[in-house]
Amino acid sequence: MSKITITTNIELTKEKKAEIISQLEKKYGDADYVFHVDYEIIGGIMLFDGDKIYDGSIRTQLEIFKEKIKS
């Protein structure tokens, strides 16, 4: 069984977690879904499926914005 790690900056309710798992099962099927809280990401969500990182965090968007300003 694959492990899917989901990171947000807020503690999600059980209902929200269930909703997210329900959505993700369409892609990953039966997996071990682990939720993790990291306040540093400011907002949004990060997902790691054991092979690939999906990064929808505000922190990363700001980093991209910062690099654009620098260049």
């Binding site: 947000t8 900056n9 807020i10 929200k16 997210i20 959505q23 993700l24 369409k26 892609k27 400011i42 907002g43 949004g44 969500i45 997902l47 999906y54 929808g56 505000i58 922190r59 700001l62 980093e63 914005f65 910062k66 690099e67 300003i69 620098k70």
Partner: protein, 170 residues
């Protein structure tokens, strides 16, 4: 005929005496001619030869001296020409050296200018880059603080839903 009476002359001279004196004179002249003429003639000839030789030697010496003078004058002219040539060459070398020094100085000045310009441009680029970095850091820090404070839970959840929807569709 009385010869004495007939030939009596003043000063007690007479014909015989005069004749004897003349004979005596002729003998003397003959002796002198025999004894002195040839040696004197030889001496005179020798002397003439000597003088002639000396004149010839003097002429030769004069000619040699004139040749030497002419040669020395030519040497002086040549030396003066050589000196002029050396002066001209020295002047040329001096001018060439001066031009080389000027060229070298110009090249060095250009090199220094280009180096200073490059350093200045590099420094300017570094300043701009540092400024951009600082602006980016400050802007992102400010944005982070604002978003951290201002983003609502609902907006955050919407963002989470949008991300999941996008990833599933991929």
């Amino acid at each position: 005929m009385n010869f004495t009476t007939m030939t009596a002359l003043p000063l007690g001279l007479d014909g015989v005496k005069i004749a004897l004196h003349m004979l005596n004179f002729l003998i003397l002249m003959g002796g002198l001619t025999v004894l002195l003429y040839k040696p004197v003639l030889k001496f005179i000839n020798n002397r003439q030869e000597t003088i002639k030789k000396q004149l010839e030697e003097n002429a030769a010496a004069k000619k040699e001296a004139e040749d030497k003078l002419s040669e020395y004058e030519q040497k002086i002219i040549n030396a003066e020409k050589e000196i002029d040539n050396l002066h001209a060459e020295a002047a040329k070398e001096l001018i060439a050296e001066k031009e080389a020094i000027i060229l070298n100085a110009n090249a060095k000045a250009e090199e220094i200018y280009n180096k200073a310009k490059a350093e200045s441009e590099h420094e300017r680029d570094n300043c701009i880059e540092n400024l951009q970095n600082e602006v980016a850091e400050v802007a992102v820090k400010l944005a982070s603080n604002i978003l951290d404070r201002e983003i609502s839970k609902e907006e955050n959840l919407k963002l989470i839903d949008a991300c999941i929807k996008e990833w599933i569709e991929q």
